[in-house]
Amino acid sequence: MQGETSRTKMFTRRTLLLGGVQSLLLAGLAGRMYQLQVLESDRYKTLADDNRINMQLLPPQRGRIFDRFGQPLAVNQLNYRLVIVPEQAGDLERSLDALSNLLPIEARDRERILREARRKRKFVPITVRENLTWEEVSRIEVNAPELPGTMIDVGQTRHYLAGEEAAHIIGYVGAVSEKELEGDPVLALPGFRIGKNGAEKNFEMALRGKAGSRQVEVNAFGRIIRELRRDEGQPGDDHFLAIDMGLQEYANARIRDESAAAVVIDVHSGELLAMASAPSFNPNSFTTGISHTEWNALLANDRFPLTNKAISGQYSPGSTFKMIVALAGLGGGVMNPTHEVICPGFTVLGNRRFHCWKRGGHGRMNMNKALTQSCDVYFYEVAKRVGVDGMAVMARRFGFGEKLGIELPSERKGLVPTRDWKLAVHGVPWQKGETLIIGIGQGFLLTTPLQLAVMTARIANGGIAVLPKLVRETRRAGQRLADAREPFPSMGLPPAHLAIVQKGMRDVTNSPRGTAYRARIEEPGMAMAGKTGSVQVKRITKAERERGIRKNKDRPWKDRDHALFVGYAPIDAPRYAISIIVEHGGGGSTTAAPIGRDILREVQRRDPARRGPEENIVLDSAVAV
């Protein structure tokens, strides 16, 4: 009994002890709860949200590009993709077999699909084929009941309706490269494209718009449960170019078979109405990924189809530069328009002869005659009097030697040589003979067709420092964006000087002695003024000269002269200026001037500058693509 009592006492004691320990342990649990749910709660709440919320970027719709009348040039086309969801398809191999009866699936694609299916989660759709035609889409839709897990998914791809006609202006989009990945996170989206060339590149930021985003709740397997928040983002701005697509196509057709460039500009506004560069390429090849063969063919072509010759091609202006030389002479007071120079066919400097293009010489030449007949000896004399630096100053006032700021990448600035330039770059002093060569627009002098067109526009508009402009208007969500461009300043040239040069250009095409008389426009009220130019690409040796210079057409293509023409019309109220260069085209008067005439006639017929674009832009019809 004694034992029993003591045993009971010990049991009670030990039970209370154990109960105490248990209570302490439970208190420890309570402490842990406090730690997790109060002290560290914020951290775990963040982690829980990180777990469940996924941000997804929604790619913005790229801004479209239209011509001045609202004709669509670059649009976003619906890209129908066939996707398959392995989870719903069940037996993927059999589904692919069934699909290949409806549309061909290459073995390579098949492997890729099966590989992706193994790697990705079962509910993630896998692209089977892209860019399906309507026929293929309907074939699949009709058979949809027998094709579990297949869906038609719609994406967007860039499509260039103008194709080759405006490839150099609009450029193209391509996949984002590693280097370009920085900045906007939308760039990392699969299949995202950015501008690689032309306006697409230049206006990339405005065309791209702002990416939207959506927050989705996902479960532990990454499957989307529901959408929490959605921000649609901002579609890219629509761009309306100054280009008149009808005129652009005409210009393209006119130079199609050459390696050439043509620029048409509004002399008052600077709007580029056409800018053709031949040969061209198909920008649509780039959007889906160009094939190796096509790419290599483009690179190997000796006429450089990928280069926009109108802004990237640098050429000696030849005789089209003579207006600048004449204005430099007049402005420097070293040349009186009535002063006469006798052209015997050459001039002598030191012991060197400088030839005129006309072997027998022009005889007595004043400024008007010299411009009309493009007498080289006369301009040798002007150049001698003005000096290279004097010509350079005038050339720069007309926009040479600088980028004009056209809204396109890869514009080049050409070269206006000076004494200092030669010493600095070539390390040797300027030679007097080189001054003479500059006087006829050759030697170191380099210009782009765009610069020549701007020069012509500035002569035609009475000395207003017009600058080229590619985009007329941008619209965001249909609303016109303000354009804060200031009016162009006057160049401050004496009107009398300009009148002399204008008269000379007028006689080039309208006087029977003019170098481009045969290329005149006879339609009433459309007459044009102009200036031809022919540029030697190969030095004529003395021996050749004595043997008799071979005619251009007898020489190999690469050795023929570049043919140039600048002009404006109509003469009385100039509105359109043009510049033409035909590489290795032979003579300016025979090759370039007729092209210039045709295009100037066409632009006057169409008269895009005077046609109110506002009523012509019918966006709704243009959008329905």
């Binding site: 010990m10 039970t15 649990l29 997790l36 709660s41 982690l47 469940r52």
Partner: protein, 385 residues
């Protein structure tokens, strides 16, 4: 005095009605409360549906209550008489699953008996408590000081623990060993002997390590260094802590647990159901449940202490200890305090075996309350007489 020397001594012949009258309703209500919480959580775990868990759990709980009352109303002397038979039966079943059991989750724990799936290790938890209670009922305070007297209870504990470990079921093995040890302590084992026993257990760890499956080793290693493998073995415990902590003070609301409902939380209807409760009801909910469990344990301890027989006291405390171990191991596990072992939250986690085991156990607690004044003799032969 002779009557106190055998099991049959003391007050006998309580009528059934008298026993029913003696059922402790406070304990019954205390048991039903967590079960109700459990039904709600299972309803939530299914995304707000009685199917597939809550409905079945209610039926099981109902069946369990019937068993609990039956166990409570049986004469306590039946349990002491059949204690070793129950243990032997449970042990046989354990050996049985070892031979023919079905492998579920890589561990052989289940035995199919017709439509019934049986988990013999669960039965063993109760059987061990009954067997130890009976053994120490017959041993006097003086006997306990003798070493040979301690050999049978040690075997009673270690044999099933080793078998369960072989299955391998680390949690149940630990639970058996711990509850057995605590009962030895209550029985009056000297502290230093208990120290030796504990040292022996620690010494057995390297041996036990050999029995463990790779995933179990990974769980333990992950527990020691949880950041080592956040997407592998550490993933579950990390997600559990995130769910637990993100509940904050007031929780995300019923059916509002993002971690649970978006499946970041593993096993939310079974072992990790407490995490789900903590996520949806916050600190308020988790502390409330903890207090509820504490009330059950405290009340169960009071009942045990009031019992007149050593068998009853040992039995009651054995059940309470088992219950405590369930609660503590499960809660500590989901809060990342001990390695992940397969121990459910008692009365709440989905699962039939554990529910029946616990209700059977609480039936025994009710039983010793009903028979608290019954004197039970010390020797079996007197019982037979």
């Amino acid at each position: 005095m002779a009557t106190q020397e055998n099991f049959d001594g003391g007050r006998t012949g309580m009528t059934l009605l008298a026993r029913v009258w003696q059922i402790n309703l406070v304990l019954v209500v205390l048991i039903c409360l967590p079960a109700l919480v459990g039904f709600a959580m299972l309803y939530s775990a299914a995304g707000g549906d009685m199917e597939p868990w809550a409905g079945r759990q209610i039926i099981r709980f109902g069946a369990g209550l019937v068993i609990m009352f039956a166990v409570a109303l049986v004469d306590i002397r039946f349990w002491i008489k059949s204690a070793y038979f129950i243990y032997a039966g449970a042990f046989a079943l354990l050996v049985g699953v070892e031979l023919i059991g079905d492998a579920a989750m890589g561990a052989r724990r289940w035995m199919d008996i017709g439509p019934l799936q049986l988990q013999p290790s669960e039965i063993m938890k109760i059987a061990l408590v009954i067997a130890l209670a009976r053994y120490f009922h017959t041993v006097t305070a003086e006997d306990i000081k003798r070493i040979p007297v301690l050999i049978p209870p040690l075997l009673l504990i270690l044999a099933p623990a080793a078998l369960v470990l072989r299955q391998p079921d680390l949690g149940t093995a630990a639970l058996l060993a711990l509850s057995g040890t605590m009962m030895l302590f209550l029985a009056g084992l000297r502290m230093w002997k208990l120290g030796i026993a504990l040292a022996g257990l620690l010494g057995a760890i390297p041996v036990a390590w050999q029995f463990l499956r790779d995933y179990q080793k990974a769980r333990i290693l992950t527990f020691i260094n949880p950041e080592s493998d956040p997407l592998g073995a550490g993933y579950h415990i990390l997600q559990s802590k995130i769910a637990f902590g993100s509940g904050g003070i007031f929780g995300k609301g019923f059916l509002g647990g993002t971690q649970s409902h978006l499946n970041f939380l593993p096993e939310k209807q079974t072992d990790f159901i407490f995490t789900m409760l903590a996520e949806e009801f916050g600190l308020v909910g988790s502390i409330t449940l903890l207090l509820l469990y504490f009330a059950i344990m405290a009340y169960g301890t009071v009942i045990s202490l009031r019992c007149n027989s050593q068998f009853g006291r040992m039995l009651g405390m054995g059940i309470i200890i088992t219950f405590f171990l369930y609660v503590f191991i499960n809660m500590a596990m989901v809060m990342g305090m001990v390695p992940v072992v397969g121990i459910p939250l008692p009365l709440i986690s989905y699962g039939g075996s554990a529910m029946l085991t616990l209700l059977f156990g609480f039936g025994l607690v009710l039983n010793i309350y009903i028979h608290r004044d019954v004197q039970i003799g010390r020797r079996l032969q007197h019982l037979r007489a």
